[in-house]
Symmetry: C2
Subunit: 223 residues, 2 copies
């Protein structure tokens, strides 16, 4: 078990070799692997500081919740992904509320927050690693929030896909992201990222040069 | 001028002493101080990578823009504040669109992005510094976006303040943030942060135990 945890940490923390063997051992000793079943509730806003999560297998969903019960998925975490957002006591600047569910059966490696915070304080490489990861996740989350809540780009794209599907009487659209962007007056990157988001939400299936709608009523709900 | 820039950089970059003298000189040589007049447009989404900004004097506003022209202020930067969000080529994970205006006459120290990126690549302390700053700004911005766009807490608080002002026939409310939070069924921290946001937006003036409404029509526009 110790050796399995060591290998997992080594493969996830890209500055692992910059940690002293004592620091490595501290992280190993304070890590555990926890199994969650599909649809388990893993973390709720306001609950205790959970620690740093690595997805060993399975898939998690990170989302925020509104007072009226609407949920917005910020992103999904799949095998080998890392989540720092449940470690509010480690990165103290995180003051907004997130929730985490398991989507499938998942094995999650959890590093206890106090041990991670201690090594991060001692070792500048681990500090840089943690903040870089957090910056990247935040930038993704900001992008999603801006598109969904502010530009309503999810609505516009859902409407476009449903309307194209109706016009061609087919659930499979043979169009590139570039073509869709031009037709919608948007940028290719925005279309690609939102399609990827739709794909992780199980609304469409993407393959080369085509988009297959797999949950029409889900797309309709966005409009 | 060189000495002024050196002192500014030293006082803003908390790991300055961990940079080699060559790295310090690289940053000094690639920095300049630019004056902006009140209401100048400093940075637009999609425009070239601007660099790292330090506010020497004055005040800037960082905001995002919707297709229908609505603006949401993410935060303001005042004297001694640092802005990394206009350095999209340095932190490549930043893919959403921000705009920057000067609110007042401002002197801004700008470090050229290529030089900063080069030193950041060489020096782990500067890398950790940059990502930590970015994480903190993102967390603030996420909080604001979540409250404003998702929970509509800005609307609810504006409504509360206007209604209390009408009930007491006074523009000055004698209430603590704790009392308002209880009356609104919210948390004190949420009330305090939103009042601070209202204050930087020039809608209210805050002082101990009281809130003075200074822009009633501005509050009305939020509702």
């Amino acid at each position: 078990m110790q050796e399995e945890i060591r290998l997992l940490l080594k493969s996830h923390i890209d500055c692992w070799d910059k940690l002293s063997s004592g620091q490595q051992q501290t992280l190993i000793d304070s890590s555990r692997i926890v199994h969650y079943s599909s649809n388990d509730f893993i973390h709720a806003s306001g609950s205790e500081c959970m620690g740093i999560l690595f997805v060993k297998s399975g898939s998690l969903r990170i989302y925020i919740n509104s007072v009226d019960g609407r949920e917005v998925t910020l992103y999904r975490l799949n095998k080998n992904d890392l989540c720092l957002l449940a470690a509010t006591c480690v990165l103290q600047s995180i003051t907004f509320d997130i929730y985490i569910d398991s989507i499938t059966d998942s094995d999650i490696l959890i590093i206890a927050p106090a041990a991670f915070a201690q090594v991060m304080k001692e070792n500048i490489y681990l500090e840089a690693f943690a903040y870089k990861e957090a910056t990247e996740r935040f930038a993704d989350a900001m992008w999603t929030l801006q598109q969904i809540l502010f530009m309503s780009f999810d609505k516009r794209l859902a409407l476009f896909l449903l309307s194209e599907s109706k016009n061609t009487t087919s659930d499979t659209l043979h169009m590139t992201h570039e073509q869709i962007a031009k037709l919608m007056g948007s940028a290719r990157e925005v279309v690609s990222r939102m399609l990827k988001y739709f794909s992780t939400e199980g609304l469409v299936h993407l393959s080369r040069g085509q988009i297959k709608i797999i949950d029409k009523s889900g797309l309709n709900k966005l409009i």
